[in-house]
Each structure stands twice: as C-alpha cells, then as structure tokens.
C-alpha cells in the first residue's frame, strides 16, 4: 500500500501544484511544496482517499506536517464505505 500511496500522492501533487515540485520524500515538509496551502492539502487528501478508495481517520488531519504524515493516515485508513 505504501508504494502505491506514495506514487498516487505524488501524482496528485503534481496535478494540483502549478510549479515544479521538489524531490518528494516521506520527510518532505508540506510547507516546502510550492503552492500547497492548507486548502490544497485538504484537496490532496480528499483526492487520495477517492483514488485509493479509503477513508482516513479525520483526527489525523490535525497533524499533517510532512508527506509521511499523509502516508501514515492512509496506512491506517479503512476501506471506503
């Protein structure tokens, strides 16, 4: 799941951000990704949920600082109802 999630996440970020992305890694700070404000972070997570057919625990939205935080939320998500 984690490789697939990372690949999907990277593709979504490339789609949403209108500037070249830094080399993405789990430790990449979301703040360091150009054009990624708090609304785009939410859009990213929402699209990721839909593409992977999962629902994350929304409490984890309070703690998204790095790419790994999003991947961690996906890793513990439940299948979409």
């Amino acid at each position: 799941m984690s490789d697939a999630a990372f690949t999907t996440l990277a593709a979504i970020l490339r789609r949403l951000c209108q500037q070249p992305l830094p080399d993405l890694a789990p430790e990449t700070l979301l703040l360091d990704i150009p054009d990624l404000d708090s609304i785009r972070v939410l859009e990213t997570v929402a699209l990721l949920e839909e593409e992977l057919r999962v629902e994350i625990d929304t409490a984890m939205l309070d703690h998204l600082e790095r790419v790994s935080d999003i991947l961690g939320a996906v890793a513990t998500a439940r299948p979409m109802r």
């Binding site: 949403l16 209108q18 979301l30 703040l31 404000d37 708090s38 609304i39 785009r40 972070v41 939410l42 859009e43 997570v45 929402a46 699209l47 949920e49 839909e50 629902e55 929304t58 409490a59 939205l61 309070d62 703690h63 998204l64 600082e65």
Partner: protein, 343 residues
C-alpha cells in the same frame, strides 16, 4: 501546518492586511506604506505582567510606545503622545514619556499626516519581554487552536491567525454562512454537502469559490484560464465531503469548541438553544454563541446557558481587524467555564 504564518511581532494592520516593518533597529520599527489608508492599527504580541512576573499589573501590554514619527521627503509629522487621539488600544500616558498598547491599537486619522503617497512611519517602541512573552503567546495560540468556527463569517479565522493559532482547516474557517443555513445543516447532518449537483464553482474577484446550500467557501485559488473548471469542481466537492466528515467526527469526539457568531438581532437565547440542540444531535462538543453586547453588558463576557452552551458578547464584529483581545478573553472564559462545569 504550523509555522505558515510568521511569528508575532510588531506590525501594522492596514485595512485588515498585516505589514511587517521593513527595518527593525534597537528601539524602533520602520514601516513604508502609502497614504491614505482606511483603518490603521499597530499590532503586536501582548501579555499581562501579572501572569508573567507576579506583578500586580493586570493590564494587557503589547508595545511600550515612546513616539511615532511620520516622514515624507523633507516633511515630518510627530503626533504628541499626550494627545487624546491615542484612544482605542492605548493605555494612559506614563511618566510623560510613553504609552503601552494592548497589542492591538488603533491609529486614527488624527494621528496620521494629511499626506498622499509613500511615507515612512517610525514607531519608537519596545515589546514586552520576548522570552516571557513567548510562553504566553504559545498559550494563546493553543487556546485559540481549540476553537473552530461555524460561521457566520471568517472572523474567528482571522483571530486565530492573529494569535498564530493554525489548527487544521475546518469546514467553516474560511466560509460564509447564516444561522438558517447552519441550522439546516446541523439538523440534517449536512446532507448532500459536496455532491456535485449541489456544488457550484463561482469566480469572485479572480478567486474560485464554492457555493453550497449550507455555506460559501473561499478556496484562495486564483483562477487559471488553462485550468479545467470540471477539475476545480471535482476536487472542491471531494474536499467538502472530507470536511463534512471531519466536522461531524469532531463534534462526536468532542475535539473542538465550536463558535457561531452573528450580529442578527434575531440571534437570541432561543435561537442559541435551538442551534445547540441541532449540534447535540451529533455529539457532546461545546458551542459558544457570540453576539454584539447590549447596553450595560461587558464586552468579553460569557454566560453559561446550558450544559455545553455558552453565550459571549463582543463590542462588535469587524471581520479581519479584531477585536482580538476581546475574542481571546471570550474564548478563555468560555473554556474556563466549560472546564469548571465538567465532573
């Protein structure tokens, strides 16, 4: 997403927009701005000496201002610190030499020169001791981060930004709504929110906004002619569905202190009770209802109306320009009352 906004420091707020000093030197902050302006405020962090040092001084203190000096070319304008125009947000003149602000002080037209065009404002001031202040700021940010707006506009979001509180985005943080629309949403669980047929993307002043039956939401995304509007709509709908789920789960899990504000005269105690009952369908999270104060009522006062329901009063609503100190007081008192009422 902590750290997106700069740490608190001396700054001007011009018509709701912050301006940091271009130059900071010992004992002074220099700003370049263009006159005329609408509302001009001098903002900073603030703290009460009584909470920092055991002092008996319970005033909220921000900047210790020794003087203001406006310059434009060879022109110079220096308001008299003894002037009665130093009103809202300024304490009394002390030792004939300085005034403290409360962290959010108004610089009315009488303290501005009658010039047009680019000028420099030199604020001769020192901030309350930063090391101790940091602890207070952290406490204020933590306090404000525990609250979440339910509308009717973005004022609480601006207050949270002022105090450097950056909680995760909530459905209503940058949204406009109304009592009736919010009540309908809470009563039916925001049914259909984020469904494509109930969501429109509109272009307002170059920005995409989302229009739904329950709220209108800023995206802060500048319209891009090369962008497919269908794509904007799709991801907007996806985000709304996620935020709906988050809101309902936050209420159910008692993760936030929710706030609804309205200046509508019809937003009375009965309306607050009805809104609270609708919220309670989803969980135990507390609700703070905020309205303008009535004659004889104190700004910043909070009253407990029922278990988990509080009514707060402010001197007024001004969206992006505070009144920050009153909002902080309101949230502090509401949280204190709520904590005291818990077994």
């Amino acid at each position: 997403m902590h750290g997106r906004f700069h740490r608190m420091t001396c700054r001007l707020i011009i018509d709701g927009h912050p301006l940091l000093p271009g130059v900071t030197e010992p004992g002074a902050y220099r700003f370049r701005l263009a006159l005329p302006v609408g509302t001009l405020r001098l903002a900073s962090a603030a703290a009460r000496p009584s909470s920092l040092t055991g002092s008996v001084d319970t005033r909220l203190l921000g900047l210790q201002v020794f003087g203001l000096r406006w310059t434009q070319g060879e022109g110079e304008y220096v308001p008299d610190l003894a002037s009665t125009s130093f009103g809202e947000g300024f304490h009394e003149l002390e030792n004939s030499s300085y005034r403290w602000t409360n962290g959010d002080a108004l610089l009315p037209p009488a303290l501005q020169p009658p010039w047009q065009g680019e000028v420099e404002l030199r604020v001769e001031a020192t901030e309350i001791q930063p090391a101790r202040q940091a602890a207070v700021l952290h406490a204020d940010a933590a306090l404000l981060a525990g609250f979440e707006s339910l509308g009717d506009d973005c004022e609480l979001g601006f207050v949270q930004r002022h105090f450097d509180a950056t909680p995760a985005l909530g459905l209503f943080r940058w949204s406009g709504s109304s009592y009736a629309r919010l009540l309908a949403g809470l009563e039916n669980g925001f049914e259909g929110l984020g469904e494509p047929e109930q969501t429109q993307v509109t272009l307002v002043e170059g920005e995409y906004r989302l229009t739904t039956p329950y709220l209108n939401m800023h995206t802060f995304h500048v319209a891009d002619p090369s962008e497919d509007l269908g794509s904007v709509h799709r991801r907007g709908c996806s985000m709304l569905r996620l935020l709906r789920r988050k809101l309902l789960q936050d209420i159910a899990a008692d993760r936030r202190f929710f706030v609804f504000k309205s200046a509508d005269p019809g937003f009375d105690q009965a309306a607050m009770l009805r809104l609270h009952a609708a919220l309670r369908r989803h969980g135990p999270a507390p609700l703070l209802c905020v309205a303008p104060r009535k004659p004889g009522e104190a700004a910043g006062g909070v009253q407990r109306l029922a278990e988990g329901l509080y009514a707060g009063r402010l001197s007024g609503f001004v969206l992006s320009a505070g009144p920050y100190a009153e909002w902080r007081q309101l949230c502090f008192r509401a949280r204190s009352l709520h904590e005291a009422s818990r077994p």
